[in-house]
Symmetry: C2
Subunit: 213 residues, 2 copies
């Protein structure tokens, strides 16, 4: 149900790279079906039907249901990595970059929550090779955030006794926005992003003036 709103909200970007149009429509249909009924309860026939296509037309683009999930998960993780990398590597203090990374990542999870839920909750439904590829992408995501935290500690901006654990908690906090965010709730994605950037700076003991001292 929320996929239509996500598209209306202009956050269907991750799928823009999928061509031709039929392959993209099938991916969007698969996200909707997996979100509503779960991966195991969804058939390729269901997905083709949602996309207004025949099962035979689906097989031109995807050999199996798992290939659809794998593609969705890979695109989702690549986009996550791109968002965090852009924020983490821009100009500015570690404080500014961490705040930017968190607010961007939160906004993306709030707007694309249907896709994010499928990607997160169905990870165990992937086969071993696809799962290994996705886990490698997750380690890169983790490394981007950890690098900013480490840079902040080195610069005297942050006070973090457990960098690995804190990085994990920061990412977890952002990802879980996809579980609870409600478009009919009182907060916009932008408001949650701003609140969470502030909370994360508190988690790392940020002293915003330290970078300029």
């Amino acid at each position: 149900m929320s996929t239509a709103q996500e598209t209306a909200g202009g956050d269907a970007h991750p799928w823009a790279e999928v061509t031709p149009d039929a392959a993209r429509r099938l991916l969007v249909a698969a996200v909707e079906a997996f979100a509503e009924r779960g991966y195991h309860a969804t058939t390729t026939r269901d997905i083709a039907g949602r996309a207004g296509m025949s099962p035979a037309a689906l097989y031109i683009h995807y050999k199996t249901k798992e290939e659809l999930l794998h593609r969705i998960s890979r695109i989702g993780h690549e986009k996550a990595l791109e968002i965090l990398r852009t924020a983490a590597r821009r100009e500015g203090s570690a404080t500014e970059r961490l705040a930017d990374a968190v607010s961007s990542f939160v906004r993306w999870h709030a707007r694309g929550r249907t896709t994010a839920r499928v990607v997160q909750y169905e990870l165990d439904s992937l086969g071993p090779d696809a799962r290994a590829e996705i886990l490698a992408l997750r380690r890169l995501v983790d490394a981007e955030v950890r690098a900013v935290v480490e840079e902040g500690v080195a610069a005297g901006e942050f006070d973090v006794p457990d960098v690995r654990g804190t990085t994990l908690a920061v990412l977890s906090l952002c990802i879980d926005v996809a579980r609870w965010f409600n478009v009919e709730g009182p907060r916009t994605p932008e408001e949650v992003g701003a609140l969470y950037a502030d909370l994360v700076l508190r988690m790392v003991g940020a002293r915003p003036d330290a970078a300029r001292e």
Copy 2:
């Protein structure tokens, strides 16, 4: 797969109240089946088979598959409320009580992650009445944590510009432990609980000495 480990870890408490034994075995089997395949891909026949029972024997205890999910979700939420209420209402400063609430809640989500995932990810699979009942329990859970945060602010222990948003973030951080926690990972539930208590005290700007000033 991890349910056996959870039981071995002594964290099958939530089901201890379910009697008779056959009804309890069916609930445990339902949690395992829903976690592995999703609610919609699981039949009452699958659940009965896992419990070593016939479908007819299942119907003596549960009229529908939804009744099983509802029972699992209600017991899970009642236990969550009990854990938070016990920590939030004990003797001690708001700082001590919030740290205790977070570490207990995190340990419980790490140990009972299979159940927690089913409860969280299949909420939308409940019918309207069951869902309304569970959402009412969630509001009580939220209110317990919010009360401690408000007490800490009133006592001058905490500095929290957005009490509602911060409470939501604290609960979200704890709940998401069920998604990522790995028994083969480097941290025990106790270690994650201790780390998260520290991170949450940072989120609320705790000044532990304020209570004694």
